[in-house]
C-alpha cells in the first residue's frame, strides 16, 4: 500500500464520518418516542380468570418458580388466583405455552420498573388487568 493509496483510504474514511454527522440519529427520543413492539413480544403477563381452570401447569412449567397459585381464591367456578413474581420471572414464555385453556397471555408491555421491590410482585388483582398509574416525570405524564 503506497503512500497515495493510504491517503485515498484516509479521505474515504473521512468522507464516511463526515456524512454520518448530518444523518438523522438512529436512537429514539425516549420517553417521548419508543420503538414499536410487535404483538408477539414477551412482556408482562395477563391472567384471564374467566377461562382459567386452576390446573397449575404454568406453575410446573416455570423454570424459576416465579408463579404462585392460590386455589381457594375463586371468582368464577373453577379458577384460581395467580401471583407473578417479576423479580424472578425471566420472560421465557413456557407458562403461556403450557396453558391449554387460553387463560394466560404475554402482553407487549415491558416498562414495568418500580421503585420498591414489593411493587414488582404482581398479586391477583394486578395481574388480571392492564391498567396502571401514569408515570409523572418533570411535569410530563407518560403511560
Amino acid at each position: 500500500m503506497g503512500f497515495v493509496g493510504n491517503l485515498g483510504d484516509i479521505f474515504r474514511i473521512l468522507k464516511h464520518v463526515f456524512r454520518q454527522v448530518f444523518r438523522r440519529p438512529f436512537t429514539y427520543f425516549y420517553p417521548w418516542e419508543d420503538r414499536p413492539y410487535p404483538e408477539t413480544t414477551r412482556g408482562r403477563h395477563i391472567h384471564v380468570r374467566e377461562t382459567c381452570t386452576g390446573c397449575a401447569q404454568c406453575v410446573r412449567a416455570c423454570p424459576v418458580a416465579a408463579i404462585h397459585i392460590d386455589k381457594e381464591d375463586k371468582k368464577f367456578e373453577k379458577d384460581c388466583a395467580l401471583t407473578f413474581d417479576y423479580t424472578r420471572c425471566i420472560f421465557c414464555g413456557d407458562c403461556v405455552r403450557s396453558c391449554r385453556f387460553e387463560a394466560l397471555f404475554h402482553t407487549p408491555i415491558v416498562d414495568i420498573s418500580e421503585g420498591d421491590r414489593e411493587d414488582l410482585i404482581y398479586g391477583p388483582d394486578k395481574i388480571t388487568t392492564l391498567d396502571r398509574d401514569p408515570l409523572e416525570w418533570r411535569g410530563w405524564r407518560f403511560r
Partner: protein, 392 residues
C-alpha cells in the same frame, strides 16, 4: 551616701519609680498605636495607588479585556460551549443524540456534570504523594488557559494590542505559547508518577513519549507562517494575512500542523497515554471529583487552543468579511476548524505508542522541514511574494 558600690548611687526610691511607671506604659501604647497607624496608612496608600493606576483608561480597559471579554469569563463560557459542541458531534457520528434533556438541546448538561463531579468524594490513593496530587491538576488547567491571552481575537478588542502599543503583543508571543504548551505533557508525566499506581505510571510515560514525538513537528510547522509574515508575534502574523490567507499558500503545512497538534493534545487517534481499553484511563485513572473536572476541562481547553492557533496562523484570524467585527470572523472560522478537528479525531483507530513515534518522526518531520525549505526559497527568489504576504 549609704551603701555606694563603685561610685554609683544605689539608693532606689520606690515611689518615684512607681510614679513614672504610668508614663512608661503610656509611651509603649503610643508606640504600638504609631505602628498600627503606619500600617493602616500604608494599606490605604497601596489601595489608592492601585485605584489611580486602574482608573487610567488604558489600564482599566486592559483589565476589562483580560477578565471579561475576551478574557477569563468569555473563555470559560466558550469552554462550556465547546464541550457541549464536541459531545453533540461525537454523538451524531455515533448515530445517537448526545445530551438532550437538560436545557433546550442539552445546554445545561455541562453545569449539571460539573456540579455532580465537584460533589463527589475525592479519593487519594494510599501510595500517592498527597500534596503534589492535589496541586498538579489545577496547575495544569492554569497553564493551558494562559496562552489564550496571546491569541489575537480582534484588532482592537484584544487582550494584547499590536506590538508597540501600550500592552502590546510580545514580539515573540508564538514562542511563549509553545513554551507553555510544552509544559503540559511534563505535567501529565508528573501526575502519572505521583499517583502511585502502575496503570497511571504507564500512562505518564506514554505521555512523555508523545511529547517527544509530536511537539517537534508542531513547532517546525509553525515556522512557515512566521517566516512569511516576518515576525514571531501572533498579532503580527494575523495582521499580515490581510490580502491572502496562508492556508492557500501552505496547505500541506496546515495538514502537518493539524496532525501534530492532535498528537500533542493526546486525543484520539493519538491517545495512547489515555487509552481507554488498555490502561483504563492512563495518567488520569485515579483522579476523581474536582481534579477530574479540572483535567477534563483542560483537555478541551487545549483542543480549543490548538484550533485557535490554527485559525490565527493559517486562516487569517480576524481578517475576513469586512462588515463583520473581527472577533465574529474569528469565531466563525474557529467553529469550522474545531468541527474539522473533531471529525478527524473521531475517524481513526488508536495508534500504538511506538507507531505514533514512528509516524511523527518518519513522516511529519520531513514534511515540515520540506515546507520550511520551500518557504525560504520562495521568499528569496519570488519577489512578488513578499508584499503580498507581509500585508498592510
Amino acid at each position: 551616701m549609704v551603701g555606694s558600690l563603685g561610685g554609683y548611687d544605689m539608693q532606689f526610691d520606690f515611689f518615684t519609680w512607681f510614679g513614672g511607671l504610668w508614663d512608661w506604659i503610656y509611651g509603649i501604647l503610643l508606640w504600638f498605636w504609631a505602628i498600627i497607624k503606619w500600617l493602616g496608612i500604608w494599606i490605604l496608600d497601596i489601595i489608592d495607588g492601585i485605584w489611580i493606576l486602574a482608573s487610567i483608561p488604558e489600564n482599566f480597559m486592559f483589565l476589562f479585556r483580560a477578565i471579561i471579554m475576551p478574557g477569563l469569563i468569555f473563555l470559560l463560557l466558550a469552554l462550556i460551549f465547546t464541550i457541549w459542541f464536541t459531545r453533540k458531534i461525537w454523538a451524531r457520528i455515533q448515530d445517537r443524540r448526545g445530551p438532550t434533556h437538560l436545557g433546550k438541546y442539552g445546554g445545561y448538561q455541562l453545569f449539571a456534570d460539573a456540579i455532580k463531579l465537584m460533589g463527589k468524594e475525592i479519593i487519594i490513593p494510599d501510595k500517592a504523594k498527597a500534596w503534589l496530587y492535589r496541586i498538579l491538576p489545577s496547575l495544569l488547567l492554569v497553564i493551558v488557559l494562559i496562552p489564550f491571552a496571546f491569541i489575537p481575537w480582534d484588532p482592537y478588542w484584544n487582550i494584547m494590542g499590536p506590538p508597540g502599543a501600550a500592552y502590546g503583543d510580545l514580539s515573540v508571543s508564538l514562542v511563549l505559547v509553545f513554551a507553555l504548551l510544552t509544559a503540559v505533557p511534563v505535567f501529565s508525566l508528573l501526575i502519572g508518577w505521583v499517583t502511585g499506581s502502575k496503570y497511571s505510571l504507564i500512562g505518564g510515560f506514554r505521555a512523555a513519549n508523545n511529547q517527544f514525538a509530536a511537539e517537534i513537528p508542531m513547532v517546525i510547522s509553525s515556522v512557515g507562517p512566521a517566516m512569511l509574515a516576518g515576525s514571531l508575534s501572533l498579532f503580527s502574523i494575523v495582521a499580515a494575512q490581510t490580502s491572502i490567507w496562508y492556508i492557500v499558500l501552505l496547505p500541506i503545512n496546515f495538514a502537518t500542523f493539524m496532525v501534530a497538534s492532535i498528537a500533542s493534545v493526546g486525543t484520539f487517534p493519538f491517545d495512547a497515554p489515555v487509552a481507554d481499553s488498555e490502561i483504563i484511563f492512563g495518567w488520569r485513572t485515579e483522579l476523581s471529583g474536582i481534579y477530574f473536572t479540572v483535567i477534563y476541562f483542560a483537555e478541551f481547553a487545549e483542543q480549543m487552543l490548538y484550533s485557535a492557533l490554527m485559525v490565527s496562523l493559517f486562516l487569517g484570524g480576524f481578517n475576513g468579511l469586512p462588515f463583520l467585527p473581527g472577533i465574529v470572523n474569528f469565531i466563525i472560522k474557529w467553529l469550522v476548524v474545531y468541527f474539522i478537528f473533531t471529525v478527524v479525531t473521531s475517524s481513526f483507530y488508536r495508534l500504538r505508542q511506538d507507531q505514533i513515534v514512528h509516524l511523527c518522526w518518519k513522516y511529519l518531520i520531513p514534511l515540515s522541514i520540506l515546507n520550511v525549505v520551500l518557504v525560504m526559497f520562495a521568499m528569496a527568489y519570488l519577489p512578488w511574494l513578499v508584499p503580498l504576504v507581509v500585508g498592510g
